[in-house]
């Protein structure tokens, strides 16, 4: 067993980056193989057919939540230090960002994480989406849209006494921390899994079910569990492996808006910018998806077939970039990682993303990628 605390301070950063790249590689391979896709999950929920993508994502959420809450106790990683549990956040902007992200995700027909995985399996449309996402996110984080973002966020504050669900519960009813924590987990998961696994098809879809006899649920759901467990791994990497008294690594786990922007920035400015968490995570996911696609013989070059499709991918990417920054995360960043912290900001973000995807489904007729 390696004594993680004995790693010299000057090597810590390299360990963190190496572990993050390995985590990204695993995510890329698992997500490519399992076709994990938040958009498919949401569409399945609305269409009430084909429950597999929804159940896969729900299982990943459950694994991320249980794993992260267990880790925060077992390894003493304070998830309140993460981005998601900020005390003065603007819920209006988080929800609005979610809507923009969700709409963009539906336009581009994949979220940021899925785009990285698709690019790894040869989909060049995703490259365009990702470039637009990176530019949109950078413009909102530090560029021309940043002053507007800050002004709007400051104008619509949501002062919160408690930033996580257990803290809210403990504020309402006196109870031990553990009871509040695990009570929140049980209630959330009972609702989520109960809903995802008891749903029945609205109308029988004989062609779909007849053509594909459903495989064993374990084989389909196991990758979801594994992907979910990468979230606590990410917390452990930055929160424990990267815990240096003097040069602390910011607490973070899997997310794909700021990292895609950082990866693009690193490509352009690497002589003056330190290699960071985001760039290695993206590189890892890309490599993992590429390897998995090759092994599964699913790698195939694909491009745009029409100008309209190109436009949708570009607009969708830009909206996801802007919206993902405002919502503090993407479908994965808030859907798995934010959700795993029990932070309150996750709920308006996720509601916004689902609403945006729904809105896009109502207002656009094209579904072609």
């Amino acid at each position: 067993m390696i004594d993680w605390n004995a790693i010299p301070a000057e090597q810590r950063e390299a360990w963190v980056l190496g572990a993050t790249a390995a985590m990204g590689l695993t995510y890329g391979a698992l997500a490519q193989g399992s076709r994990l896709c938040f958009l498919r999950a949401v569409q399945a929920a609305f269409a009430r057919t084909q429950h597999a993508p929804l159940r896969l994502f729900a299982v990943a959420m459950a694994a991320a939540l249980i794993g992260s809450q267990w880790l925060s106790v077992a390894a003493d990683v304070d998830l309140r230090q993460s981005l998601y549990a900020q005390s003065r956040v603007s819920w209006v902007m988080v929800a609005l960002g979610g809507v923009l992200f969700g709409y963009g995700m539906a336009l581009a027909n994949a979220c940021g994480a899925r785009s990285l995985v698709l690019l790894g399996s040869g989909n060049l449309r995703s490259l365009v989406t990702l470039l637009c996402l990176a530019v949109g996110a950078s413009a909102t984080l530090t560029g021309v849209l940043a002053p507007l973002r800050i002004r709007l966020t400051e104008a619509t504050p949501t002062p919160l006494a408690a930033t996580t669900l257990p803290d809210v519960l403990a504020g309402l009813v006196a109870m031990p921390d553990a009871a509040a924590r695990w009570g929140s987990v049980v209630v959330l998961l009972a609702g989520l899994l109960g809903w995802a696994f008891t749903r029945r098809d609205k109308a029988a879809a004989p062609d779909a079910t007849a053509a594909q006899p459903s495989p064993s649920p374990w084989r389909t759901l196991l990758p979801g569990v594994l992907i979910g467990l990468l979230v606590p791994l990410g917390w452990w990497i930055t929160g424990r492996l990267g815990a240096d008294d003097f040069e602390p690594v910011p607490l973070a786990s899997i997310t794909f808006v700021a990292p895609v922007a950082q990866a693009l920035q690193y490509l352009q400015l690497s002589t003056g910018v330190a290699l960071g968490h985001g760039a290695v995570l993206c590189a890892g996911v890309l490599a993992g998806a590429w390897a998995s696609a090759l092994l599964r013989r699913e790698f195939q070059w694909q491009g745009f077939t029409s100008a309209a499709q190109t436009g949708r991918s570009m607009a969708g990417g830009a909206l996801m970039g802007v919206g993902g920054v405002l919502a503090l995360g993407c479908s994965i960043g808030q859907g798995l990682t934010g959700f795993s912290t029990l932070a309150l900001s996750t709920y308006p973000a996720l509601a916004g993303i689902v609403a945006g995807a729904w809105l896009a489904g109502r207002t656009t007729t094209h579904q072609g990628q």
Binding site: Q81, L83, A85, A146, P147, I150, D245, F246, P250, G272
Partner: protein
């Protein structure tokens, strides 16, 4: 990084939009000129290391070191770090009584906006050295992280003494104390300014003899951090680290020096 820094950054950013576009330099910045008055400014020797572009104005890594040749009989007795466009010009300063601590420091400072950072080193006689660097600060800081569990006082002091690279060589020392370094310039949730609450200084003694004092100011990042090089003397006694906050409360740590 943390909220307080964002707001400081933001407030100053908005103010800067109306301020003059011309940035001061060491030749025109009054606080620097005040330090240099009556002194002979020497050519190269002082090196200032700050990133040209910083995404988090709340904690900009800064290194300052004297690597030139000293005039005969002169030593560096103080280094001052200034910022031209912060609400207060002072970032932090070091006093070096004696020659046990080498003039080679790393720390983290707050830069409210893009501006020039100036380092002034003062010699024991009449010399002075100046170094300056422009730093561009972007405004992303506010998305950096959650709110730390803040406490009023200083807590969790951390000290690391590295073994010298070569026998008899200087020891690298790192020292950090957890503290919010509340500037008194930042509004709280109720819109009122939060009371100023700073760690005033950090001192290092070898036995009874003071060898370093670092004075922290509003431009010093929260959880003030220092890295410096200590040249141990034979039988100098243990190293005694003391942090003192603006209310006079002190936190004291003692460590034996590695052989």
């Amino acid at each position: 990084m943390h909220r307080r820094n964002c707001l400081l950054t933001l407030g100053a950013l908005l103010a800067a939009r109306t301020a003059s576009a011309q940035d001061a330099t060491a030749n025109t910045f009054a606080p620097a000129q005040q330090l240099l008055r009556g002194r002979t400014v020497q050519a190269a020797g002082l090196e200032l290391d700050v990133p040209a572009l910083s995404e988090n104005g709340g904690a900009v890594p800064l290194g300052v070191a004297f690597r030139g040749a000293l005039p005969a009989g002169e030593t560096i007795v103080a280094i001052h770090l200034l910022a031209t466009r912060n609400p207060n010009p002072g970032l932090l300063s070091f006093d070096l009584p004696g020659d046990r601590v080498l003039p080679d420091f790393a720390t983290r400072v707050r830069l409210a906006e893009s501006q020039t950072v100036i380092a002034v080193a003062l010699g024991s006689k009449n010399s002075a050295w100046v170094a300056q660097r422009k730093v561009q600060v972007t405004v992303s800081g506010c998305l950096g992280g959650g709110e730390a569990a803040q406490s009023e006082g200083m807590r969790s002091p951390r000290i690391a003494l590295a073994r010298p690279a070569k026998a008899g060589g200087p020891i690298e020392v790192k020292a950090l104390v957890q503290h919010p370094m509340e500037t008194g310039l930042r509004p709280g949730t109720d819109g009122k300014l939060l009371a100023q609450n700073l760690v005033r200084d950090f001192t290092l003694r070898l036995g009874e003899r003071p060898v370093l004092t670092a004075r922290f100011q509003t431009g010093t990042s929260e959880n003030p951090y220092l890295r410096f090089l200590l040249q141990p003397a034979p039988a100098s006694g243990p190293a005694v680290f003391t942090w003192t906050d603006q209310n006079g409360r002190a936190l004291r740590e003692e460590r034996p020096l590695p052989a």
